[in-house]
Point group: C2
Chain length 172, copies 2
Amino acid sequence: MSLHLDAEALYTELLAGVRALIVPDVVLVGVWSGGAWLAERLQRDLGLATPHGVISSTLHRDDFSSRGLGSTTDATNLPFSVDGRPIVLIDDVLYTGRTIRAVINELFDFGRPASVQLAVLVDRGGRQLPIQPAYAAARLALPATQQLALDRDDAGQFRFTVQDIQDTKEAR
Amino acid sequence: MSLHLDAEALYTELLAGVRALIVPDVVLVGVWSGGAWLAERLQRDLGLATPHGVISSTLHRDDFSSRGLGSTTDATNLPFSVDGRPIVLIDDVLYTGRTIRAVINELFDFGRPASVQLAVLVDRGGRQLPIQPAYAAARLALPATQQLALDRDDAGQFRFTVQDIQDTKEAR
């Protein structure tokens, strides 16, 4: 891996970026799994009263028929009312936008938010849908054969992993 | 109306902007009704072989329960396969992004496009979802009490209408 991405340094940037998006009554919702870890720590570091939510894209993915139900099906957990709420959606890596479309649909299954803004650690380009983050701590380009994901070690520190994938249809 | 928006001049800009988004096998899909008029003329002016599609947001709107079925329910007409297709979605006015979320869901009911890009005549800001156009011929701010829409006269010329609305929940 020639690419060096310091996930902890980028988290510090993300914290500042998300702080600027905070409005009264806002809640953070992290996309399972990397975004959920980020939302958990952001909620704590920002001292937000309402606990963060977690959302899974599984049930709304456009490749659901070929992927089927995975172990993340019941990862969605929104411990607040979504209706009329300003929501900041958090994800680790933004790529095609298909995951974000899916999780927004999942969110709307729970109610009608006042607004949904998106903040991500890394925007790797390659968008296939007209989705853009309000904040991205880094923007970079990666070959389609590389999958970038956030990992968390036993001490709770973030790091990125890059995997070579055969089937680029797995792109999210 | 103090605002002067020359819809025909903006259409010329849009034509150039959409031309830059054309890739092999692309199709234009216009959001009913203003976007559909634009897509019809763009398809002709760009000399695209495949006829344009028309899409209605009615069935997927997040305020469907309060609006119910209108006269536009069956406006959707996609005379081509959506699967694996690069799609350029055309709309007259981009505002909250809720209409675009709805029409993308409607599109995905018909198949899984390779990509969806958005081009609009006017981006009036006020986004409530993380949706951004690849191209906007104009960007401007309007009070929430004003509704901006494209109209077409008997000669097929475009013009904008601005209406004062009471209930700003009508915002699209």
